[in-house]
């Protein structure tokens, strides 16, 4: 069930309506049912994988919690135990917990690897050929990359003692399968989500209206902007064909893609966040006007924020805190200053972090290089910070320059992301340098590539609206609250205006292939 489909809208209306009709204690059961229904609509067999991931992580975390509890009881019953013995018991239990966590990671990541990367393993050689034909042709289950990380995060949190494991498998399953977040995030944390799902919430009309408005805004971004830009970008970066239109087309397509991917992904997040809000559940923020960032690190703090925060908490800090990293700090500290040695270790942790994000995006060189490109810039940022972050950085034009520079750096990376593979990326770079083809670019051919003149004008308007809204957000305006205070005619005009923009200009229906969300592929 596509999130922009008619069926999904009906599904949401039914979910929200029945949710508030039911008594508090029954609501999570209803959500569980709807989660399963949503998931089953993608394919009955796909449920097997999410059930496995949930069962493994739930059992593992439960074992870890039991181990904690046993340890606590042991210490309570054996008061006055020698400090050394206590340390020994703690170490032993710690190893047990680590072992359990390791098993959970192995199984959940193993399932992710087999299912998501099986085609590549089977294609590339005999290393994984023992999987045989049984996994060949498996359709990558909906949201496996997202719920696998969710389950792992949950287990690590329990391992770190941040909270005790959930006793009820069904309640845990309700949180894992929470359908708005299942296919593309945002990456939620168990504690944040479960508190809200199982809380007793009264119906709040204002929140439902706000949620519906947010969903509408998401539909606008996805269907009016992203899906209308898609044909042009696809045409220029046609997989396998190597394009051949010329460098200016590649540059234009990269700019268009930057808008497309932002509108696509943030549109999805707005849709699901709006739905969450209608159900009284506030999902984590995933975007914060990323294209107004002044540097690449700031861009990644504002882009797919929940993914960055997940990798920061569970990978980056884990690596930094690891014993071998501490060892490295000590060793480096003997040769270099403390700051330099810290920079070395941070760089190593950043490299690992971004390498793993690349792997998570896909087992292809282009994804790994794409993420290492950002990792590299961030490492450079650490080392060069003292040099370039001097002087007055607050001048308006300097900020504009910084924003423009960051945007160009990001757009450059999109060429790699859009290209079929690394060699096509190199081909596109050569096109930009040696074959810009301005004659063709400034001919009317541009309008025959999926974006007609009318569509181009419409897109200009739509993107202008998107930019305006982001500027207002950056300036600290809460647009929905401010609009809610305006008089009813203006409010309705705005609302009806956006509804009709989606209905009239949205790329859907018989003339269009329904575009899947870009991030659904990861």
């Amino acid at each position: 069930m596509g999130v922009t489909s008619f069926a999904f809208i009906i599904f949401c209306i039914i979910t929200v309506f029945v949710f508030y009709m039911l008594p508090y204690r029954m609501r999570w059961v209803w959500l569980l049912a709807m989660n399963l229904l949503f998931y089953v609509s993608a394919g009955v067999l796909q449920v097997v994988f999410i059930v496995m991931a949930a069962c493994i992580s739930w059992s593992g975390s439960w074992l870890i919690t039991r181990n904690y509890q046993k340890e606590e009881i042991y210490f309570q019953n054996t008061e006055g135990l020698a400090k050394e013995r206590k340390k020994e018991v703690k170490l032993l239990n710690g190893r047990k917990r680590k072992g359990i966590l390791f098993c959970v990671l192995l199984l959940v990541l193993g399932q992710l690897a087999v299912v998501k990367y099986n085609g590549i393993f089977l294609h590339n050689g005999s290393l994984f050929c023992f999987f045989g034909n049984s996994v060949q042709g498996i359709v990558v289950p909906l949201g496996i990359s997202f719920y696998s990380l969710f389950c792992i995060g949950y287990c690590i949190d329990v391992y770190r003692g941040q909270y005790t494991a959930e006793k009820s498998l069904l309640k845990y399953f309700t949180v894992v399968t929470f359908f708005p977040c299942i296919s593309q995030g945002p990456f939620e944390r168990y504690g944040h989500l479960s508190e809200q799902i199982f809380a007793d919430k009264k119906f709040d009309g204002q929140q439902v209206v706000f949620g519906a408005e947010l969903m509408l805004w998401g539909f606008f971004k996805k269907m009016v902007i992203a899906d209308n830009l898609s044909p042009f970008v696809t045409e220029v970066f046609q997989p396998g064909s190597g394009g051949g239109y010329g460098g200016l087309f590649v540059i234009a397509a990269a700019f268009c893609y930057s808008i497309q991917i932002y509108a696509d992904f943030s549109g999805y997040v707005d849709i699901v966040s709006g739905l969450g809000r209608m159900l009284g559940i506030a999902l984590v923020q995933n975007f914060n006007a990323p294209y107004f960032s002044k540097s690449v690190p700031e861009f990644w703090r504002n882009w797919h924020m929940s993914l960055g925060s997940w990798f920061k908490d569970y990978v980056f800090y884990s690596v930094l805190r690891s014993s071998w990293c501490q060892f490295l700090v000590k060793k480096a500290g003997k040769v270099f200053s403390r700051k330099v040695s810290m920079n070395i270790v941070t760089s190593v942790a950043l490299f690992i972090n971004w390498f793993l994000i690349g792997l998570w995006h896909g087992l292809e060189w282009k994804y790994i290089l794409f993420d290492l490109y950002y990792g590299g810039i961030m490492i450079l940022d650490i080392w060069l910070k003292p040099i370039y972050r001097t002087g007055n950085c607050s001048a308006f034009f300097y900020r504009v320059f910084q924003v423009g520079r960051t945007f160009l750096v990001v757009c450059f990376a999109y060429i790699l992301l859009c290209a079929g593979n690394v060699s096509e990326f190199i081909f596109h770079l050569k096109e930009i340098i040696f074959y810009p083809n301005p004659k063709r670019f400034f001919s009317y051919e541009l309008f025959a590539m999926g974006i007609s003149r009318s569509k181009a004008v419409m897109l200009l308007f739509a993107v202008a609206v998107l930019v305006l809204v982001d500027i207002l957000h950056v300036k600290g305006h809460n647009i929905r609250c401010e609009v809610a205070k305006k008089n009813i005619v203006l409010r309705w005009l705005l609302l009806v205006g956006i509804i009709y923009a989606v209905i009239l200009f949205g790329a859907y229906g018989p003339e269009y292939d329904v575009s899947t969300f870009i991030y659904q592929a990861f």
Partner: protein, 438 residues
Amino acid sequence: MKHYKVVIKIICFILFFCIINKTLCFLAVDDTISFTRIMMHELYYPDSNIDVLFLGASHCYRSLDTRITDKVFQCNTFNAGSSNQSADGTYSLLCEAVKRNKIQKVYVEVGYAMPRYETGYKDRTQMTGTYIISDYMKPSYNKARFLLQASSAKHYANSFFPARRSWENFFHPAEMLKLLQKKFSKEYREYGYVVNGNEEYCGKGFVEDDTEIPTGGFYSMEEYQKIEDSRWSEDWQESIRQVIQLCEEKGIALTFFSAPMPDFLLVASGEYDQYIEFMDSLLEGSSAQYYDFNLCKPQYLSLTENNFKDDNHLNTKGAKIFSGLFSEYFAGGLSGENIFYGSYQEKIAAQKDTVYGVVVKDNKEKGELSLEAVTNADSMEEIFYIAERTGRDGQSVTQKSSICGLLPYSSGETGTVDIRVYFKGVETNHISVPYGAE
């Protein structure tokens, strides 16, 4: 009180939403030359009660001249035919008509093309036939049901928001201004009758067309789909059953008929009798009757090429002839006379051997025209063609072709070819067709 306010707000919002929908539709959709718009207006606001209603696709509104049927039936007849009207459209229009009129008789035109067009309503790709009706239907449960059942969900936005189909007009302000000027004109506002080329709306649903096919001038540039290969749409049959049921409930006499089509088309389309059998079996056990005017004996209905506007539809002259016979037959003027043959095969066998027309296939890649005469003769041996090609460069080549009718031309060449067909040494057909690369 609070709930009351919320309900009022919701109703007002829906009304506001619908008003905007109507306004956008008015601004974007160009229906200034639409016959159906006027027909639907007249259907909703007839001068007097509609006694006899004709329904069906283009064969209906081009074949039955209501000026003639009014005279012969001596009551108010109305032709609610519309282009590509399928059985679900027929049913919906019938629902609208019976709500507002005391109808005594309904005649539904059922050409063989409609039931075989569609595998199922949900698989429809072409929705024009639906929209030209629904766009002018008044808001009602019947309209909503019609649109929801007419297609899969992916067409719904186009169905319920007509402005979406013409959204590009919003970005052509000059065109939109021109359109608005037309729409604010007295003619448009007062549903003045529309003339479009040779076509003219004549009132109460009938559209006449003065175009004439010259004698011996039938041809087709593509092979017709064979009737024997057709699968009859289940959805279409279901809608026909709904029409029958509604008429039975309302006590309306219902008749199905097929308007006359050129023998060229029917012979080239294969076993036409299979369609007649299908219709007979569909209506078996119901109170409705089926009459196929393609089976008419020549002493009652004799139509030539000059009575058709194309290889499918009657023109003004043809409609006049057919409307007369139709009205007379159903008004009882020909009672006791058997005006129909038992089968189409029988009709064709009764005719003199002739060539009805030519199917010309242009294989542009090969550089070859193939000609196939459509005939009722047992043997093709006495048929030959003389073709004269006039290329774009003006060079003329005369070629006497063999019976297999293959005319090669050099690849990349383009022009027109003048084809004369001879049967038993006499010229029967003469056509001129374009050929070659675009």
